[in-house]
């Protein structure tokens, strides 16, 4: 077996036919991940003991003839903003360097209950704030496809491990593109499900009206299986949806003849020409599969970045207020008074991007500015969501680029926050509207840098999204 190319189905077959045990697979996966990790810095923490216990439980079930679960023996990485009981969870921040969560996130619980084997925690931008993974307090992640380039962010580690083969699938989180953009930069599949489709219980909060948990995988089927496992109502997250979870596997391998696919013209401005060429090839391929391509307009797209950076920073400034030196491990050693303890702990614990967002969020919510900024942004958010509603009266799905350009060089955009923010221009809108969206590989540039195609569908129509993604994959879209 080639450990770097395993699939969920391949692992299930291997276990069933006794080619390997879950324990053997886990040892090999751990050794490989440890050996490869220095190249990319994608894992922050390994969880050997926990992985061995999960694998042993799978082997025991198999030996008793029981069904071991949909993810039996599958090596998984979890973004370090998702809490794991007894396993250090840093959020890529100095603030939580020694934080050991007292409980598991629901998504983690569900994937372990399905036999999944967590190998470790994946590096990310601090508190999921960033588009390059360069905001991690534990050093940047390098893109496994081109080591002098960023893997994207904020879920850069989760994308890199799947591209590198040091995990079969992984969990990331997406607030403004943090799953799809790194998936596109690293050439893997990344899914942001409908808002509320996956419980956020145990996802360290960044911007609560925008945060999602979602899967990374090397193929559409694995992404669908992982989402299937973690989706569904959770009483511990009041925002999690009641809607029944469809069987996503049923949407795979179907033909897409007659499907109406919209191309929003606003998503082809600002686009780098090589990325644009790839996306057009992808669209041609869908046309050849029988999709009807429809030119449409989402007129408020250009306002999305401004709208997003008001809403997400306002929510972040509230969510990050809890790191005050009282409960979460870090307290400034210099502080003598309570007020100094708050101020100095936060001054020492947060990195530059977190400080910038806390400041912007506090500013837009401060007395006298609320109507001009936050309330206005919420109204613009309605307009952006309405654009999508109207589009989906004409088409079944939308297809766009994921990012205006492929993976950039480490350090290239670090000093210019606005340039960095604008790199999320095509992904932010899906989060603002709360609709499902995903990135699938769509070939690469002449230099070999992956390009990602984004598919967006109606609320809770993950099935439609997977159907199109699967048809695209089977027609050879990934290697166009």
């Amino acid at each position: 077996m080639d450990i770097a190319k395993l699939t969920i189905a391949g692992i299930q077959e291997g276990l069933r036919t006794r080619q390997f045990s879950a324990a053997e697979l886990t040892e090999e996966a751990l050794a490989f991940a440890r050996g490869e990790n220095p190249k990319t810095n994608a894992y922050l923490t390994f969880s050997e003991e926990r992985a061995r216990q999960s694998a042993a439980a799978v082997d025991e079930k198999l030996s008793r003839g029981e069904t071991p679960g949909a993810l039996a023996g599958v090596p998984i990485a979890v973004k370090d903003v998702i809490v794991t009981k007894g396993l250090r969870t840093t959020c890529g921040s100095r603030m939580l360097e020694h934080f050991i969560p007292p409980y598991d996130a629901t998504a983690v619980q569900r994937l372990e209950a399905a036999g999944g084997v967590i190998l470790g925690k994946a590096n990310c931008d601090e508190f999921a704030m960033g588009s390059s993974n360069e905001n991690s307090a534990y050093g940047p992640v390098r893109n496994p496809v081109a080591l002098d380039r960023v893997p994207g962010g904020s879920s850069g580690g989760s994308a890199a491990v799947v591209a590198q083969g040091t995990a079969v699938v992984s969990l990331g989180s997406d607030t403004g593109g943090s799953i799809r953009q790194p998936a596109s930069f690293c050439g893997v599949v990344g899914v942001t499900p409908t808002y509320g489709r996956v419980s956020r219980y145990g996802l360290v909060a960044f911007a609560s009206s925008l945060d999602h948990i979602g899967p990374f995988a090397r193929n559409v089927e694995d992404a669908a299986v992982l989402l299937q496992t973690i989706a569904g109502r959770d009483p511990k997250d009041a925002t999690s949806a009641f809607a029944p979870v469809a069987d996503y596997r049923e949407s795979l391998g179907k033909d897409v003849r007659g499907l109406r696919v919209g191309l929003p013209k606003e998503y082809f401005a600002h686009l780098d020409s090589e990325s644009g060429d790839q996306i057009h090839k992808g669209v041609e391929l869908l046309k050849r599969q029988g999709c009807e391509i429809v030119d449409i307009s989402l007129p408020h797209t250009d306002y999305a970045v401004a709208c997003y950076y008001i809403i997400c920073t306002a929510e972040a400034s509230a969510n990050l207020a809890r790191y005050d030196g009282v409960r979460y491990t870090k307290r400034s050693a210099q502080a003598k008074t309570l007020q100094d303890m708050y101020r100095m702990t936060r001054g020492e614990g947060f990195g530059a991007e977190c400080k910038r967002r806390i400041m912007l969020g506090t500013y837009v919510l401060s007395s006298g500015y609320y109507d001009a900024y936050y309330l206005k942004a919420q109204k613009v958010r309605s307009l952006i969501a309405r654009d999508f509603q109207q589009a989906f009266t004409q088409v079944d799905a939308l297809v766009t680029p994921v990012s205006p350009f492929p993976a950039f060089k480490l350090g290239e955009k670090l000093d210019d926050p606005i340039q960095m923010y604008l790199s999320d221009i095509y992904t932010i809108t899906g989060d603002l509207a709360g609709i499902p969206c995903m990135s699938v590989p769509c070939g690469s540039t002449a230099e070999g840098l992956p390009v990602g195609l984004q598919i967006l569908t109606r609320h809770f129509d993950e099935s439609g999204m997977f159907r199109l993604a699967s048809a695209f994959e089977q027609a050879g879209g990934f290697t166009l």
């Binding site: 050991i100 007292p102 409980y103 409908t194 808002y195 509320g196 009206s209 925008l210 009483p235 925002t239 949806a241 009641f242 809607a243 250009d302 306002y303 970045v305 401004a306 950076y309 008001i310 400034s317 005050d324 030196g325 009282v326 409960r327 979460y328 491990t329 307290r331 502080a335 003598k336 008074t337 309570l338 007020q339 100094d340 303890m341 101020r343 936060r346 001054g347 020492e348 530059a352 400080k355 910038r356 806390i358 400041m359 912007l360 506090t362 500013y363 401060s366 900024y373 942004a377 919420q378 109204k379 613009v380 958010r381 309605s382 969501a385 926050p417 606005i418 709360g434 609320h459 809770f460």
Partner: protein, 99 residues
């Protein structure tokens, strides 16, 4: 200038965030750039548009409520385990009331 260093200091106070002199001046520069970009929203007339305060909610008003039955929660020790300083089952902080 959309924002002065003086305003940055005021907002940092609201946010309980200590910034060095260097950070304060860099912050004024960065926020100025971001706020200028955000001004783009003023091109839009949002009269009569409802703010999107709720992203998605697919159930009845009381569906997220449960019976008022006591369920196990984190015990005291687990809740305090990450405290930088604790004692006698409490989080400890610097003295705030002088006797």
């Amino acid at each position: 200038m959309k924002i002065t260093e003086q305003e940055v200091k005021y907002v940092a106070d609201l946010a309980n965030l200590q910034l060095s002199a260097e950070e304060t001046s860099r912050m004024a520069h960065d926020l100025d750039g971001i706020l200028s970009h955000i001004d783009k929203l003023n091109e839009l007339d949002v009269t009569g548009v409802e703010p999107m305060a709720q992203v998605l909610y697919d159930a009845g008003e009381t569906d997220t409520l449960r019976e008022d039955v006591i369920e196990p929660s984190l015990d005291n020790q687990a809740a305090l385990a990450n405290a930088p300083l604790s004692g006698a089952g409490q989080f400890k902080v610097p003295k705030i009331i002088e006797r």
